[in-house]
């Protein structure tokens, strides 16, 4: 599929492929999101702002140029900002696709990294040569100031021009704790939020430290997503419980929301307010307890995001959806078009749906009927 190469969060012609519970596919205009959802739905979005997580600098012992991409944190605490996990690249910049970036110099525990005004020590290796843990010197305020001034948002090689923070912050962005943008949220602007309210659709947020989406290294990518801390406000947990009691749908904006809500509910089936650390991987094996639908970008088979979508609908439906999006000129990647997948109910006694049965379902192409 063609990637969207312009950093425009809400192109007026953005498309939305709706995958109904029975596998019916319908292409709609994404700007009319409120019309695609139902009164009574509760939309839950991730309000994490994106950190300038890409830090250029030098590995002091060798003098070699490196790029450090911060990738994880143990908590969301605003004072707990010295310890990070990070992916390290050798010289070069984002114009080179990550899979062709050179390895960093051989590093040892205790090695110092100079990253603009920041200094960090390598504190460990997370069973991969590119994936390290590090600890910054200085107070929390000094670290925040160093990140804010020296860091750049993680860049994408398919974009022609470098991204600025204002390109990657969603309009609802709050605490800067995501390492890459929760890009499903690009669909939302304040007009949408008002439209949702007008149609009787609820809107709530969580904060989830979305990690990096891809490292260009197959072995490392297979471990994604890494552990991600999240916070669920009391008001959001209460709104979710109210909606579930009344049989209304929970619509997650983005895979991070699915991960956080399902992790929170893993204990006793109830979303709990407070902070947690999402460690699970969601796949076709996962029985979702909370999320009834997801609004997400276009994800390719084999990625962790695609596996997560298989918890909502089967692989063949997703492949059909991809074929239809390809045919209709949908664009992929962070600034691309979107899908809304409504979960297929799990019916008692119904086994795995064989491929033949699903292929016989005709692809219904109904371009947006709304003028």
């Amino acid at each position: 599929m063609t990637p969207a190469v312009a950093a425009i969060q809400r192109p007026t012609n953005a498309k939305l492929l709706v995958v109904a519970p029975d596998g019916t596919l319908t292409s709609r205009s994404r700007a009319r999101l409120a019309d695609v959802l139902r009164p009574g739905d509760l939309v839950v979005a991730n309000d994490a702002a994106t950190l300038p997580a890409s830090l250029s600098g030098v590995h002091q012992r060798t003098g070699d140029a490196i790029e450090v991409r911060l990738a994880g944190r143990p908590s969301l605490s605003e004072t707990d900002v010295d310890r990070f996990s990070a992916v390290v690249f050798g010289s070069g910049d984002f114009h080179t696709p990550t899979e062709r970036r050179p390895l960093p110099p051989a590093m040892a525990i205790g090695d110092m990294l100079t990253l603009g005004p920041l200094r960090a020590a390598v504190t460990g290796f997370l069973s991969h040569r590119r994936l390290i843990s590090l600890r910054f010197d200085g107070t929390a305020d000094e670290i925040w100031a160093g990140l804010a001034r020296h860091g750049r948002p993680i860049q994408y090689s398919y974009l022609a021009t470098p991204l600025a923070l204002w390109d990657v912050w969603t309009v609802i962005a709050g605490p800067p704790v995501a390492f890459e943008p929760p890009s499903a949220g690009f669909v939302i602007d304040w007009r949408n939020v008002a439209d949702l309210r007008q149609r009787g659709i609820g809107f709530a947020t969580i904060t989830h430290a979305a990690g990096i989406s891809s490292t260009g290294d197959d072995e490392l990518d297979a471990r994604l997503p890494l552990d991600e801390p999240y916070r669920i406000p009391v008001a959001t947990a209460a709104a979710i419980e109210r909606a579930r009691l009344q049989g209304r749908r929970i619509v997650a904006i983005g895979t991070t929301v699915v991960r956080a809500l399902e992790h929170s509910a893993a204990g006793n089936g109830t979303v709990v307010a407070g902070e947690g650390l999402a460690t699970q991987h969601i796949s076709e094996q996962t029985r979702l307890q909370i999320v009834d639908a997801i609004l997400t970008g276009v994800h390719e088979p084999g990625t962790s995001h695609f596996r997560l979508l298989q918890a909502l609908t089967d692989e063949l439906t997703l492949v059909r959806a991809l074929q239809m999006m390809e045919a209709l000129g949908y664009r992929s990647h962070e600034f691309g078009d979107s899908m809304l997948i409504e979960r297929t109910p799990i019916l008692p006694g119904r086994g795995w749906k064989g491929p033949v049965e699903r292929i016989e379902v005709p692809v219904q192409e109904r371009p947006d009927a709304i003028p």
């Binding site: 300038p52 305020d141 309009v171 962005a173 605490p175 947020t205 406000p233």
Partner: protein, 249 residues
Amino acid sequence: MGDDRFDGLRVAVTGGTSGLGLALVRELSRRGARVAFVARGADRVAAVARESANVHGIAGDVSRKEDIYPIAVQVLGELGGLDVLINNASDLGTAPLRLLADTDCEDLERALATNLLGPFRLTKAVLGALAASAREGRGAVVINVSSDAAVTPYPTWGAYGASKAALRHMTSIWDTELESEGIRFLSIDPGDMDTPLHALAVPDADPASLRRPDVAARDLLDAVAAVLPSIAPVGAGTVSEAPVSTRIQ
């Protein structure tokens, strides 16, 4: 009044190293708020940050587009979110004051950059955090510091007056549009104060005739407390509770 309401409240103040802004930082700290303030001079920022508890200093210039997101990262990162934004940093435009016909375009542009575009950009960058705070029932308030020059066409105050008039109108539009999100926007005129900005504008003014910034800061924060949800539901029209000396426009 209102001290408890500030306990743990997350507040950002621009122009926090002199005049009203400095007085606000000190008073907020005294009332138990968690404060992030912004000002241009890094040394002065560090000195002010050292003198009070729970205060985070951020070096940055709100009139520069490139500084806004680094400022927002630090405000939201250090406080973990935001309940109150006070856009206080102001630029006189011309000092000494000049007739509008004698005002250089560049001076007007600078006044607009600091007094109008800066508050607009910073408000947009932190709006998500403010809306989250409102949804969580903590309240969300943006104070744009105004002036009687925003209303009255005083001769020689053209660049400043025009920029403050635009800010005042923008504040009303923000307030109307975002009332449904639970975010309140207020223009507050703190009156003529004994501050460096006033001394630049009116060098021979008698300080004794001017309001002390610490008094103006207390009044302004009482006006904030009056619209926080613990005293009145958001949008309940509590403007009349503001002290008379602090004019909510």
